[in-house]
């Protein structure tokens, strides 16, 4: 996984060294594709972390460590807005609170399955210069206890991604790169 990040990082880095992208309004199709891949990797990691956090077999200390890792994927102050078919009002949780509630659910087995589909929006520029996009994915969550109790839902997750142009100094040279962070996530239960 780490090596994949490295490859993507280098692709993003090498494609952007000579251009002053702060002044650029449009993200080229090629760069957009690289950013999409990086964002999808982060979304996929988030799915893995959720499985680990929600599993009863995960030690408390390990779950907390994974929560910290998961939080690193997010921009500060990100929230989860959750609604269900029976309760259309949106309930808001800070991301940490959402993970801690998930940990407290204590299912014996947690399975997160993905539908083989994701939709990635265009990137739009915000007044602060960052780009914002939304990735839509569909997941089926299944929590099972040893006593046979089962909870299952299918949700549409609209995940905000923030894409920011950053600079770092390597060997005395200032090199630009694109950084992707996850933001607010809207979780809607679907009938699928």
């Amino acid at each position: 996984m780490k090596s994949l990040y490295k490859i993507l990082f280098v692709i993003l880095l090498s494609s952007s060294i000579q251009v002053n992208l702060f002044a650029q309004d449009e993200v080229s199709p090629e760069r957009k594709q690289a950013i999409d891949s990086l964002a999808l990797e982060k979304v996929k990691d988030l799915g893995k972390y959720i499985s680990i956090i929600g599993n009863k077999d995960t030690e408390f200390s390990e779950a907390n460590r994974v929560i910290e890792r998961a939080l690193e994927l997010f921009a500060d102050g990100s929230q989860m807005g959750v609604s269900s078919l029976s309760r259309p009002d949106v309930k808001y949780y800070g991301v940490r609170e959402y993970f801690e509630r998930l940990m407290a659910l204590n299912y014996d087995r947690v399975t997160i399955q993905w539908f083989n589909i994701q939709y990635i929006s265009d990137l739009e520029r915000q007044p602060d210069g960052k780009y914002v996009g939304v990735i839509t994915i569909y997941q089926r969550f299944q929590g099972e206890s040893d006593d046979g109790l089962k909870y299952m839902d299918t949700t549409k997750k609209d995940i905000t991604i923030y894409v920011e142009r950053k600079e770092t100094q390597i060997g005395g040279r200032i090199i630009g790169f694109w950084d992707v962070l996850l933001g607010d996530i809207r979780v809607t239960e679907t009938t699928t």
């Binding site: 807005g81 083989n116 994701q118 990635i120 929006s121 839509t136 569909y138 679907t190 009938t191 699928t192």
Partner: protein, 278 residues
């Protein structure tokens, strides 16, 4: 029948296209309905304009498939709510014919203005749950753009400022100025009817009141409950966009209402949506 076949073929296209998607984990089976769904407003724009392929990949300017009129006609047919909204078939066909017209086609423009969001929300007002309708617009900035609150409709304010239609008793007489308006003391002592002493064209600015009540902590946000978009971009047409969360292939962000309207009628519609002429 021919039309139905076209729609069916498009849906089949969505299903077949699912095989070409990249994979990212443990997968579930049939997702054809999810492919058919218009999953984001962004996707509605792209499908409306035919700026993406069946897999949802962006088609960029320069490609021969970009805004292809043939594909557009197919896409547009599945962008209507065909289950509950009962949009007149003639209107639908007329609209599709106009926006795909070879000589002067119409394309939706995200930054083109003439569209806004109606966001139904729930607030606690002095501890009681109330609905507030926020009207949001996309505002262009020096760099990028942002959504801003343009207006709000809040029923408790309407009741608070309701004026009598024929007020012949509550007024400041025309020579009040000669007494340095000493009679103001009388009107402000009865708080409940103070609006009766305002000009005929007085319209309370709900947004200012709303923000004031929030700052005073009298209003507390609870939740968003519903979202509708109103589009006035197309010449002589207005349509409404809503999300349909249900089973089947006709789901997601779809046109829920379509009205043929000239500029004057559009103004009336705007006022109606803003609750100004109800």
């Amino acid at each position: 029948m021919k039309r139905l076949t076209g729609v069916f073929l498009l849906l089949i296209g969505f299903v077949i296209s699912s095989k070409g998607q990249q994979t990212i984990g443990t997968y579930l089976g049939d997702e054809s309905a999810l492919y058919a769904a218009t999953k984001q407003v962004n996707q509605f724009f792209r499908r409306f304009n035919s700026e993406e392929d069946l897999k949802g990949n962006r088609i960029y300017k320069g490609s021969k498939h970009f805004r292809n009129p043939k594909t557009r006609r197919k896409y547009l047919k599945v962008l209507f709510d065909n289950e509950t909204s009962q949009i007149n078939a003639d209107a639908k066909n007329g609209f599709i014919a106009q926006v795909t017209n070879g000589a002067s086609p119409f394309f939706l423009d995200f930054h083109g203005g003439e569209w806004f969001a109606e966001v139904r929300t729930k607030f606690l007002y002095h501890g009681k749950e109330e609905t507030a309708i926020l009207f949001m617009e996309l505002q262009e900035e020096k760099v990028g753009s942002k959504w801003v609150i343009k207006n709000v409709y809040f029923e408790p304010f309407v009741k608070l400022f309701e004026k009598e239609k024929e007020n012949k008793e509550k007024f400041l007489h025309p020579l009040s100025h000669e007494l340095a308006f000493m009679n103001l003391q009388r009107i402000f002592s009865d708080k409940s009817e103070v609006e009766e002493y305002t000009a005929n064209d007085f319209r309370p600015d709900h947004l200012s009141l709303f923000l004031f009540e929030i700052k005073r902590s009298s209003l507390e946000f609870k939740s968003v409950t519903d979202l509708t978009f109103h589009f006035f971009q197309a010449d002589n047409w207005y349509f409404e966009l809503k999300e349909f969360n249900r089973s089947g292939y006709n789901t997601g962000w779809l046109i829920a209402n379509l009205v043929k309207a000239n500029e004057q009628e559009k103004d009336l519609l705007r006022k109606y949506i803003y609750f100004e002429n109800r």
